[in-house]
């Protein structure tokens, strides 16, 4: 059974790009664009990997990550964080709140693919 990725991102073009890359590699990709309902969406879909953007409408990716880590069902869930702000502080926060990996936009497609694979194989 194909492994499932939940992509939480609000930029339509980026959603298209990541979905395309992962689908072509055999992943099932679900997408979600709203920060406020993101945690519920994760619980509902129970994906194998989450790709989480930092700057989302209505709620920050960091807050979402903290909620995920606080809940028993998702505390060990692999999460790859993406940010476009490119600041050191974002990387620090991501590490502190327990992101499995952290990546700055723009990323290379291969890098995303490798990272998602690595996160599920571990």
């Amino acid at each position: 059974m194909a492994k499932r990725v939940l992509l939480i991102e609000d930029e339509p073009n980026i959603i298209q790009a990541i979905s395309f890359i992962l689908s072509r590699d055999g992943w099932t990709v679900d997408t979600h664009a709203d920060g406020a309902t993101a945690v519920a969406e994760v619980e509902r879909r129970a994906p194998d990997v989450v790709i989480l953007d930092v700057m989302l409408p209505n709620r920050s990716g960091f807050d979402i990550l903290q909620d995920l880590r606080a809940a028993e069902a998702t505390e060990a869930l692999p999460v790859l964080m993406l940010t476009a702000r490119g600041q050191k502080r974002d990387r620090e926060l991501a590490e502190r709140y327990g992101a499995s990996r952290f990546m700055t936009k723009p990323f290379s497609n291969a890098e995303v693919l490798d990272t998602v694979r690595a996160l599920t194989e571990a």
């Binding site: 609000d10 930029e11 339509p12 073009n13 980026i14 298209q16 790009a17 990541i18 395309f20 890359i21 700057m55 409408p57 476009a84 702000r85 490119g86 600041q87 700055t104 936009k105 723009p106 990323f107 290379s108 497609n109 291969a110």
Partner: protein, 897 residues
């Protein structure tokens, strides 16, 4: 002829008698057998230390040089004693009720026990008195030399100095012996006073004897003397009015202010009633002292025209072979000199010790010693050392100026110096408004002017001031010449100096007092000094037995706290030998209680409170005023504290706010940078991702085309963003060049609408306009203005939520310089109220970004452009939909119509 040995013998014998008298008086005082010692006669005679050797010998010389001017020296004190005896009486009363120990203490105590003032007056007194002591040493030495030289053995200057040294040492010994025998809080010295009273009698008898000898022995009676006077140059003397008045004033002031006069007149006074007797008896004494001055001068001039007129009293009898009379005259002069030196040394040592040595010792020393009995020992030693030091100072001054200067000149300089205390003293006892600041300002200024205009110039250009300095002023400034201030030339240097110093002193005193705020203690002391007769009518101390111990305890508990108050009462009861909680209400206990209360609520309040309960003495108006003063002072103090804490709080708030602003600024800057980063990276992410997808190949043709167009759009978005950023940056930094040109509003709007509606893929928007109203010609940068309009129209296209989006552009001319209003109102939902404030900020995109396609810089750019064009853009919250108003300035609409 008088032998040298005889002379020394007589001196020693006389001194021995003085010692004996002083000793006997002390013994009697000790045994409280004070009857005749405390007589008005002794008091009056003791006042005669005013007549020093200067008066005894110098008056004759003065008369020879300046005719009747010498009378002023006697007239001053006479006027004070006859006309102003009530001033003296007030000083005496204050001196006793306040336990004043010296004139420095008087000034210090009056002005809130200010030690600064005590020090100033002490220094002034020492500086003013030292020449005077030197003068006495000189007169004794000279008279000694005259008597000894007459015998054939001339004394060389070294011997003279040795004589002066022996005299100084002897006087120091006597003063220490009788001046510091015991430490009396009243600072009274019955032994010394009696001895100087004896000396006063001796000098009067001696002068009268010489006078009688001259009138009836040399001349043939008063008629002969009058005739001789007529013939002498003394009769030809013309008085100088200004100098005459100045001298009388100086003598009067000195009589009140000289430390030694204050000592005998106020400190040594045993009974206030003695002042009444002295008020006529002392002028009588002065009259007798001055009676024979002119006859002696006249006869002296005729008999010894070459001799020193300052010594006629002595040389005249000698020249006429009356050795015993000469010896008596010598003893008179000796008495004058020694009595002055002794009393001056006592007065000065008290001042030096109390106001300079003790404060320093107490500050520097072991605080534990204060409680033990050591202090008394230290005071004793400091007094004795001070006496020695003062006489040593006098002796050194004598060595320094040895034999120069007429006696009277030095005396007058000293008078003028000490007269500087007068304003602070009289103001202090008659004016409640006088303050410490005023007194200090007056004293210091007056003393400085005195030193500058009289004391330093008196050395004739040999000490500190050079002759050129005297002649041309400091740095050649003529207006500052010491003896002609502000060009006041041609008047007597003494008159000049007294006029300036007293005038400036008084002015500084009054102005300083009016413009400064007295401390509570100053007010209290001021009231007690000025109203001394009311205050002391009821002798301080408590007599009434009507008080209930319980009432007192209740009141005390309120102030001291119940534990302390009860302990105080119990302790007092124990001291009285009683058991229980209530002490007997004895005067001693009431005084103790008052002191305890005073330390908590202030002296005046404590006194008033006890007065009320004891009922023995009513609470006076002054008491109430003093209480009010204290309360006001305390309130003012707490108010000031409150103000200070408020001020601190304000400062802290300001600091906090400033810090917040700084933090906000740096946060804003960070936020701006991370926004730019985000806005740039987002399209770049898409571009990179799709480029890689395309590069990898193996995509279908439809996908290829779709991805290419995404790349194309995102590249355009990136370009637009960079353009906007650059635009904004240029506008914000003010480096923009505007292309001012004549334009028509209608044309610009037309262009903007055309540009927006022709854009591909834009949602349809119905733009409603009124071309007639738009026809306004003016000067602007048409491209920039149309950029603003395009932005507003595009925003409406993007964000208007109505089903049939509509934008109404209306133009109105506001009158009275309001400019031209261009309103853009759509029929959408408008902007949420909470967002209104931020829409003109950078990156303040409100809605979903995918729909907007911009980075949120548009309105920020519009605001900058309108600012540059001299107009404005604002959001109009009252309108139904989203409404923006662009205002074009009036001056650019001048070409309208």
């Amino acid at each position: 002829m008088i032998g040298f040995d005889v002379l020394v013998g007589v001196c020693l014998g006389y001194v021995a008698i003085l010692f004996a008298v002083a000793f006997a008086a002390e013994q009697r005082a000790q045994r409280a057998e004070v009857n005749w010692l405390r007589s008005p006669l002794i008091y009056t005679l003791s006042l005669s230390i005013y007549c020093t050797a200067w008066t005894f010998y110098g008056a004759v010389g003065y008369a020879v040089r300046s005719g009747l001017e010498f009378v002023t020296i006697y007239l001053g004190p006479t006027l004070v004693m006859i006309g102003w005896w009530w001033v003296v009486r007030k000083l005496v009363r204050i001196g006793r009720t306040q336990r004043i120990t010296s004139i420095a203490d008087l000034i210090s105590s009056r002005y809130g026990k200010s030690n600064l003032l005590g020090v100033v007056v002490t220094v002034l007194a020492v500086v003013g008195t030292t020449p005077y002591i030197a003068l006495q040493l000189q007169s004794v030495t000279l008279s000694f030399a005259v008597l000894a030289a007459d015998e054939g053995t001339t004394l060389n200057p070294e011997d003279l100095q040795t004589t002066a040294l022996i005299v100084a040492a002897g006087l120091a010994f006597f003063t220490i012996l009788f001046g510091t025998r015991r430490l009396d809080t009243n600072e009274r010295h019955p032994g010394v006073v009696t001895a100087i009273a004896l000396e006063a009698a001796v000098k009067l008898i001696a002068l009268l004897a010489v006078g009688i000898f001259v009138v009836w022995g040399v001349a043939s009676g008063p008629a002969d003397i009058l005739a001789r006077t007529e013939a002498s140059r003394i009769a030809a003397w013309q008085p100088d009015g200004a100098r005459w008045a100045t001298l009388i004033f100086l003598a009067a002031a000195a009589f009140l202010c000289l430390p030694r006069m204050f000592q005998v007149m106020v400190v040594e006074n045993a009974d206030e009633r003695h002042v009444a007797v002295a008020s006529w008896a002392f002028p009588g004494y002065l009259f007798l002292m001055s009676l024979f001055v002119v006859p002696i001068a006249v006869v002296g001039l005729q008999t010894l025209p070459e001799g020193n007129p300052d010594l006629y009293v002595l040389t005249l009898p000698l020249a006429l072979g009356e050795e015993r009379l000469a010896l008596l005259a010598f003893l008179g002069g000796f008495s004058s000199a020694t009595s002055m030196v002794i009393v001056a040394a006592i007065a000065l040592s008290t001042m030096v010790s109390n106001h300079i040595v003790m404060p320093i010792w107490l500050r520097a020393g072991d605080p534990g010693a204060v409680v033990s009995g050591d202090v008394r020992q230290v005071v004793m030693v400091s007094r004795r050392v001070s006496i020695g030091a003062i006489l040593a100072l006098g002796y050194l001054y004598f060595l320094f100026t040895g034999g120069t200067g007429a006696l009277a000149a030095i005396g007058l300089i000293a008078f003028a110096g000490l007269a500087q205390v007068l304003p602070a003293m009289l103001g202090g006892i008659f004016w409640r408004g006088a303050t410490r600041v005023g007194a200090a300002a007056g004293l210091i200024l007056g003393f400085s002017v005195w030193a500058y205009t009289l004391f330093l110039p008196s050395f004739g250009g040999t000490f500190i001031m050079s002759e050129t300095f005297l002649a041309q002023g400091p740095f050649g400034i003529a207006a500052l010449r010491p003896q002609a201030l502000l060009g006041m030339e041609g008047i007597d240097p003494l008159v000049h100096a007294v006029l300036w110093s007293i005038l400036l002193n008084t002015a500084a005193f009054i102005v300083g007092s009016l413009f400064s705020f007295p401390r509570p203690l100053e007010r209290l002391q001021g009231a007690q000094f000025v109203n001394v007769f009311e205050h002391s009518a009821n002798p301080r101390g408590w007599s009434g037995g009507a008080a209930e111990a319980e009432d007192l305890l209740i009141m005390s508990q309120r102030i001291l706290g119940s534990k302390e108050a009860q302990a105080l009462f119990r302790t007092a009861a124990a001291v009285q030998g009683k058991s229980g909680d209530y002490a007997d209400i004895t005067p001693e206990f009431l005084e103790t209680l008052e002191r305890e209360l005073a330390s908590s609520v202030g002296a005046a309040t404590a006194h008033a409170m006890i007065s009320q309960i004891v009922g023995g003495s009513a609470v006076s108006m002054e008491d109430l005023l003093a209480v009010a003063d204290e309360t006001a002072q305390i309130m003012e103090y707490s108010l000031r504290l409150q103000e200070q804490s408020q001020e601190l709080e304000r400062t802290a708030t300001q600091l906090r706010e400033a810090n917040e602003k700084l933090t906000a600024l740096s946060i804003q800057k960070d936020a701006f940078l991370s926004q730019i980063s985000h806005e740039l990276r987002t399209p770049m992410t898409s571009i990179r991702a799709f480029s890689e997808i395309l590069m990898a190949g193996s995509t279908q043709e439809a996908e290829q085309s779709r991805f290419s167009s995404i790349i194309h759009d995102e590249a355009k978005r990136l370009t637009r963003l960079l353009d906007d950023l650059l635009d904004l940056s240029v506008l914000e930094n003010g480096q923009v060049t505007l292309n001012w040109q004549d334009a028509d509003l209608h044309d610009i709007l037309e262009r903007a609408v055309a540009a927006t509606t022709s854009m591909e893929g834009q949602p349809r928007l119905n733009v409603l306009r009124d071309p007639d109203a738009e026809s306004i010609a003016f000067t602007t940068d048409a491209d920039r203005l149309s950029q603003v309009f395009i932005n507003l129209i595009t925003n409406a296209q993007k964000y208007c939520t109505a089903e049939a989006p509509e934008l109404r552009i209306s133009v109105t001319q506001a009158g009275d310089g309001g400019g031209v209003h261009v309103d853009f109102v759509d029929n959408g939902a408008g902007i949420p109220r909470e967002s209104e404030a931020v829409i003109f900020e950078k990156f303040s995109r409100l809605s979903d970004k995918s729909q907007a396609g911009g980075a949120g810089l548009g309105l920020a750019i519009c605001r900058e452009i309108m600012g540059k064009l001299g107009g404005s853009i604002s959001y109009q919250p009252s309108e139904a939909g989203t409404a923006f108003r662009v205002i074009l300035p009036q001056r650019e609409a001048q070409a309208a119509e």
